[in-house]
Amino acid sequence: MAALAEARVEQVTREDLVMFVNACFSCTGQREFYGDARGQSVSIEFLHQYILGNYRRLYARTLAAGINHFNQAQIILNLLASGSPADARDKAEEGALIAAALRALPPQRAFRVLESLRGRRINNRRARAIARDYVHGRANLAFDAVKYRSKLRAAVSHGHLKLEGELGPFLFRGWKKRSFTQPLLETFRRAHYTHEALYELPYTVAEGLAVKHGISREVFLRRIEPRLTAAERLRLQESAARERGTPPPVDLGRASLTKLALYVLALSPEVRRERHAELDAALEQAAARVLRRAPSPLQRVAAILDNSYSSSGSLEKRRRPLGVALATHYLLSAAAREYRAWWTCPVEEPLLVSARGQTDIATPLLEALAWGADLVVIVSDGYDNDPPKAVAELTRVFRSKLDPERHTALVHVNPVFDSEGYAPRSFGAAVPTVGVRDAEDVPTVLGFARFAEGVALLSELEAYLASRAGAMLQRDAGGLQGHDEGRRQDAPPVEEGES
């Protein structure tokens, strides 16, 4: 009886954790096609509190599981808000994980976390130490002070941090009146009075000052161009082309895979057809780069990609499910030895795909199974409506009657979080569902899929999370050393991540 209860407890723990990690892969608290933002944020907040309260150590280790930035930030805040654990080893590990995760976040997100400490009134010794270490570990704090001024200021005042040199006075006292010896701070001061200095500032800061000076958008965009980061260039392509005729030159080969896919989907079909070779090459390059970082050799892979109307996403996540599907297409075609893709509404050319039509996954799934794939990846939001719940039935019968030995692996990759189910919507028990935010994470989540399937034991899951946490801490330690050696006074403009 006791053994039974124990087994049940283990199962519940495992299911809870899988659900949570899955949610953390996909949910960002933003509006989805079927669910509103409020429902999403309430749902994910509940999950965080539930896991924090019940499985604290695993909650902290989830930071290293490759989850998206939104949930990393949430975990950091929740951990800092609830005091430190009693056990000394846990305490040390948790602190190291928080610090490492914070350092790995894109700077705007990390500073946002520090600012939220003030918003949520979290001010314990550990939180102050974390904020202090992060701020002092920044390579070019003067640049941060200019670009993320209000956030840094919030962190400094809330955590009683001491800043060296002119930064303190710059953030808090009369920066309008005095002059600075540090060049960037002085540039920022001068930019309030002269146009010339403005163009040496980061784009986001200069943008507001340009409005203040009444500089026309066209002139501003032309002259600020050298200061644009790659992400800003990509983001400004359309609007800059509208304002001044020519978009800022962008090296598509350097953009990240999912962002590139989203950029391609935002172009009109005519443009996509015209620039087909260029875009295609850029996407392939991006996919190859992802695979260099996380090699995942696959054999005979079939992808079923959902381009139904619901993959158009929402106002907040425009075309993201479709973008993830397109990016996954390129990623898998680069990773697999043999590869075939089926779209739910067939398209002549993957680059010309658009979100249209109903979700008929059963037909392409049957074709993929007939083709004899050994891995079938379904990228979909989980709403199959032609016919409803056909995939669940189809895969159940396929598993039980045609493939009981599991020659063919089925994985459902879901970029959409279903707030009512507290997890990405699944296609029934026969297909493991994993959440994903960027296609770059697909190799990671494919590794996680065996836990979602429910065959792996809790101890394996714990070992998996522990090893990921260990790897993250090691990476962080290595990064810190490398950082110290290669620290430069004049850091290049920071890349902005968005996941």
Partner: protein, 389 residues
């Protein structure tokens, strides 16, 4: 003149039903057309006026029979191959009727429910056409001056006759359902169920037209049940199962999935059984080229579901356009009472006998149905006294 193409029984020839999509209590069933002829196209014409006054008889600004309603949009149909490639929104639109200023509001005056604008172009007011037909049932009133009827009832008939309905945007669920609905590529129509009762059917001839008109469904009007059943729980998201025993290969699995689709279509056909397959009485409204525009109503028996609607039938008897409205119970009762009266030449005693009741009860029923103005006050008072006793 009787036309063989007047609908006796609504048959969805050439159309098939796809599995439903559910949002809250609303279930939307796509109607697909495999063979598109492309010689009948519909486009939308919007009217931004608070109300429209349609002259059913007589000129635009002359006294005569008028139909007054909120009309957010009309449909312009063109036929023949000339316009086949015209895309929604690309045609120049003629001025339709007249717009009158009434303080901050504007009122649209329109000529007839169906108005020929060009050799191959017709403007019609969707569903209002059917509703006007419903309102004008027995509109003339008593033909013999029986003593019970009021002077007004004898001289003016049912005029003014009114019915109320619910606009689509009154139900927040409907908006969400239409927004999240995934339109099939061959889709030409939609069956709208609320709490799994059929409220409306809408079918056009061409998939592109349907795609353009899809979101206008939220502006159309529906029966009371849209609100009345709007507070019931969510419609169940049904799921059919596959039979394990019949599967031994991938081909079997494919057949089973095909059978599942067929089952869905049959099931939705069954759910819409009160409309498709029910007997209708239709009247011809307009003959446009080879197309026959008609309006129809079902039996108007209070014990059954009743729909009114309009349809266009092509030369080969195919259903090219359909729009229906589900009558509420009270609306059915009114139509039923009027038809019973008309069948007995408006004689109260005879009708009461036919309905197995007394004349005084019938007068009260008429008053409760909203037709008190047809009867003399003295008759109603007497009936009420009798009822109280």
């Amino acid at each position: 003149m009787t036309d063989a193409r007047l609908i006796q029984r609504l048959e969805p020839a050439g159309l098939r039903l796809a599995p439903s999509q559910v949002w809250g209590g609303i279930r939307l069933v796509p109607v697909l057309r495999d063979e598109v002829r492309g010689d009948l196209r519909m486009t939308l014409r919007t009217y931004d006026d608070v109300a429209a006054v349609v002259s059913v008889k007589g000129g635009l600004k002359e006294p005569g029979l008028k139909y007054i309603s909120y009309v957010p949009h009309g449909l312009v149909m063109t036929w023949g191959n000339r316009q086949a490639e015209a895309v929604y929104g690309t045609q120049l639109q003629a001025v339709d009727g007249k717009s009158l200023k009434a303080g901050p509001f504007s009122i649209r005056l329109l000529h007839r429910m169906v108005h020929r604008e060009d050799r191959r172009q017709l403007r019609m007011l969707p569903l209002h056409l059917a509703m006007e037909g419903f309102l004008s049932l027995q509109f003339g009133g008593p033909e013999i001056a029986w003593a019970e009827y009021s002077r007004e009832g004898l001289s003016r008939g049912l005029d003014p006759r009114s019915e109320s309905s619910v606009p689509g945007w009154a139900s927040p669920m409907l908006d969400g359902a239409l927004r999240t609905f995934e339109i099939h590529p061959q889709q030409v129509g939609l069956l709208l169920f609320n709490a799994d009762v059929l409220l409306s059917a809408f079918v056009v001839a061409h998939p592109d037209d349907y795609r353009a008109l899809h979101r206008t469904l939220v502006e159309d009007f529906y029966g009371d049940l849209l609100l009345q059943y709007g507070f019931l729980g969510d419609a169940p998201e049904l799921g059919l199962t596959l039979d394990d025993a019949r599967v031994s290969s991938l081909e079997d699995l494919r057949n089973e999935v095909h059978r599942m689709r067929q089952d869905w279509a049959d099931f939705h056909g069954f759910m819409a059984g009160s409309l498709f397959g029910a007997s209708m009485s239709s009247t011809r409204v307009y003959k446009a080229g080879g197309f026959l525009l008609q309006r129809f109503h079902t039996s108007l028996d209070p014990a059954e579901e009743n729909h009114i609607g309009e349809a266009i039938v092509g030369t080969d008897g195919s259903l090219e356009y359909l729009k229906t409205y589900r009558l509420s119970a009270a609306q059915t009762r009114r139509a039923y009472l009027l038809s019973q009266l008309a069948q007995c030449d408006w004689h109260l005693e005879d009708t009461a006998e036919r309905l197995r009741t007394t004349a005084s009860d019938l007068s009260l029923r008429l008053r409760n149905a909203g037709f008190g103005y047809l009867l003399k006050d003295s008759v109603l008072e007497a009936a009420q006294r009798k009822h109280r006793r």
